[in-house]
Amino acid sequence: MTPHFMVRSLLALFEPGLQQAAHALGEIVGEAVTMSAPTLRCLPRQRASTALAAAGGQRLCGVRQHYQGGFRTEAIVMFAEDKCLDLVRLMVGDAVPMEELTAMEREAMGEVGNIVLNSCVGTLANLLGQDLRGSLPLVQIATGAQLLAPAAGAGSAQLVMLLQIDLVLEAHCIVGHIAFMLEMDALAQLQALAGRSAADGAAP
């Protein structure tokens, strides 16, 4: 079980970035986005991959990016596959014909994911005084369990920190799920950076 004080301090660290992610998504679609209360757990990677089982095994469009620098993290934002076209329509407006919209849907979701994730991670990096380098966004269509499953050859029993939050566009019944996964050594690096920032007076 993750100590409560550790959960609270990590959530406080991520909160400004998560708010920025919600704000960025709101700017993309031109309407208000609300956030669920984030949850944070440390658990084996294989169990983390089943964390979205409550979504009923529905197919999701996931946009994944890896970040490295002062610490390493994997970030993924996911939307229900059948809501992605609505999201892209909100992004580009009514002037784009449906055939063109459908053709660009996957690539547009990559852009949405890139913006949402960079908004969050960038804010966190600024708080810590770090420069984090992000990979190019990778778009995948799969169930939540498949999207969060460990890569081939990776240790499924390896402990990871899983932070989850939902971003809700109520008017269109669109929910985005954001998950951050850090291996325990990366989590230790993150906590060390947060401690240094707090000591320097740079942390919130």
Partner: protein, 131 residues
Amino acid sequence: MSPAKTVLVVDDSRVSRLLARQFILARRCFWHVEEAASGEEAIARVQADGHGPGQRPALLPDLILVDVNMPGMGGVAAASRLRELCPQAHISLLTANVQVATRRRAAELGLGFLSKPMTEARIAALLDALP
């Protein structure tokens, strides 16, 4: 009315190029917007193709928007090269990367900085600030 200008939008994301075009033309309907899907393509566009029949003359943009996170030649490298090739152009990095380090890098290179998501308001502010 100010003279028509040419804008080159460099982004591997088709939807980003579409939005940039929409927002720019909404504010400056008489301007000309060109697109490139990579830094390499942008550099090829602004270099002379040659003078034979059917060959395209070099593009002379007044404004260049360059996405930072692109496969192949990254946006910062492309912007630096474009700065050498197009000294007359105002060049802005276009990025969802809100990190201070990225803004600092842009400033050191004499480049502007435009945050994603692109909005009509951000594009309008950029266009209004051009000389």
